[in-house]
Symmetry: C2
DNA sequence: TTTCATTATTTTGTATACATTTTTGTTTAT
DNA sequence: ATAAACAAAAATGTATACAAAATAATGAAA
């Protein structure tokens, strides 16, 4: 199952993955200065592929001004604003188009969400949204959301780690709406769901700020 | 007024601009194969900055698989779908927040749209949408739309060049709604406006296909 | 002719070198 | 002590070289 990504033979891709992971799990916390030569030495590549990987990370918003991003509250709000528009639309589309197979996959994500380990829950959560996004059938929209994926991950960790209440219940409600082919409701529930995520993140953010 | 962009001293930025312009005005039509060394020789730079510029063009969707993009009808629909969501939202936000100064700028775009030369109309058209997008106050949203800018330009040319009827009238209606602080209406009119643009583009596209 | 295999050729990915630019650190004058 | 000016160091942008990979061209077998 561990599919070999043929891109991994590229130094630039490997560097991208290592650096991204370091940022995502806190090894390179927000504000860390990025210096090409230092990373090149650390990862054992030359500067050329490192530079390429850094451009990708810039593009995804993980690096800003040669520093690891430190998303502000405003950034968080902006992100959920855009997601709400795109994923709300996708949820509606899903209610119209989603095939049986994907419905089952959604259902499975909910089950894992209730019974799985922390890591399994993270994955299931991501997969749930991914299936719906794909249902938009709009490659540009999918791409746009994927671009935000890393930053979303940064926050999804918060939501799952701090065990947000009703998270999976909301997924289930969305799922039910899609299954019932009620597009407008699916859209509304998705928007509400993201609003709850946002509020939860903001709460965590602010309470840890005053700690 | 011709402000010197200090980025222009970078070979990579210059290369980006030259190649982008070549694509946008048809010097490098859709399907043209991109070879780094060839471009490097032509533009008088080494491959390094050329590669960097190509990444950016990839990112903006002007280059796909080492070829100049040839947007399909599906691409066109996808683009307008995403724009409709983001610019619809922005129009609503504009109705709430837009300061007097920007209202006047919008009004000016309409005037130029009625009286200007082809090129002035193109600019005014772009500026009209840009002002509204900025009103979203959401940097991520603005960035996302900017990313689509080049492809939008490709189609805007069609709309203006073939002199789409009611184009400026629709702008004016949107402007009036924003001025009247009617957010819902502004949003709806923007969505309708983009739908008209899309249909017009599709029409041109299809009639030229059967020529 | 068509198909496959094998060479050439082109093109790409990466490493390295070097010249500017940017940043840091130090000294001097106020 | 603070600010300005300068020197030293570090970091970046670009050019070039080379090996690996992808593509095109050639020829042999069906």
């Amino acid at each position: 199952m561990t599919q070999y990504d043929k891109n991994s033979r590229f130094a630039s891709k490997q560097a991208y993955e290592v650096i991204r992971d370091r940022i995502l799990n806190g090894d390179m916390p927000g504000g860390t200065k990025i210096v090409e030569e230092k990373l090149a030495a650390e990862l054992g590549f030359s500067r050329t592929p490192i530079r390429e990987s850094l451009r990708q990370l810039n593009y995804e918003g993980l690096i800003v001004n040669k520093k690891v991003v430190q998303p502000t509250e405003k950034d968080l709000r902006n992100l959920f604003q855009v997601r709400s528009l795109l994923e709300g639309f996708s949820a509606k589309a899903a209610a119209t188009y989603l095939p049986e197979e994907d419905l089952n996959a959604l259902s499975n994500c909910i089950k894992v969400g209730r019974e799985g380990t922390m890591e399994e829950i993270m994955d299931a959560n991501e997969r749930f949204h991914e299936i719906i996004v794909q249902a938009s059938g709009n490659a540009l929209m999918i791409d746009t959301i994927h671009r935000m994926k890393s930053i979303i991950y940064l926050f999804r960790k918060t939501v799952v780690l701090y065990n947000r209440p009703r998270l999976i219940d909301e997924h289930e409600e969305i799922y039910e709406s899609i299954k019932a082919r009620d597009g407008e409701n699916a859209k509304k529930l998705m928007e509400d769901h993201l609003k709850e995520d946002l509020d939860f993140c903001l709460h965590i953010l602010n309470s840890s700020k005053n700690a």
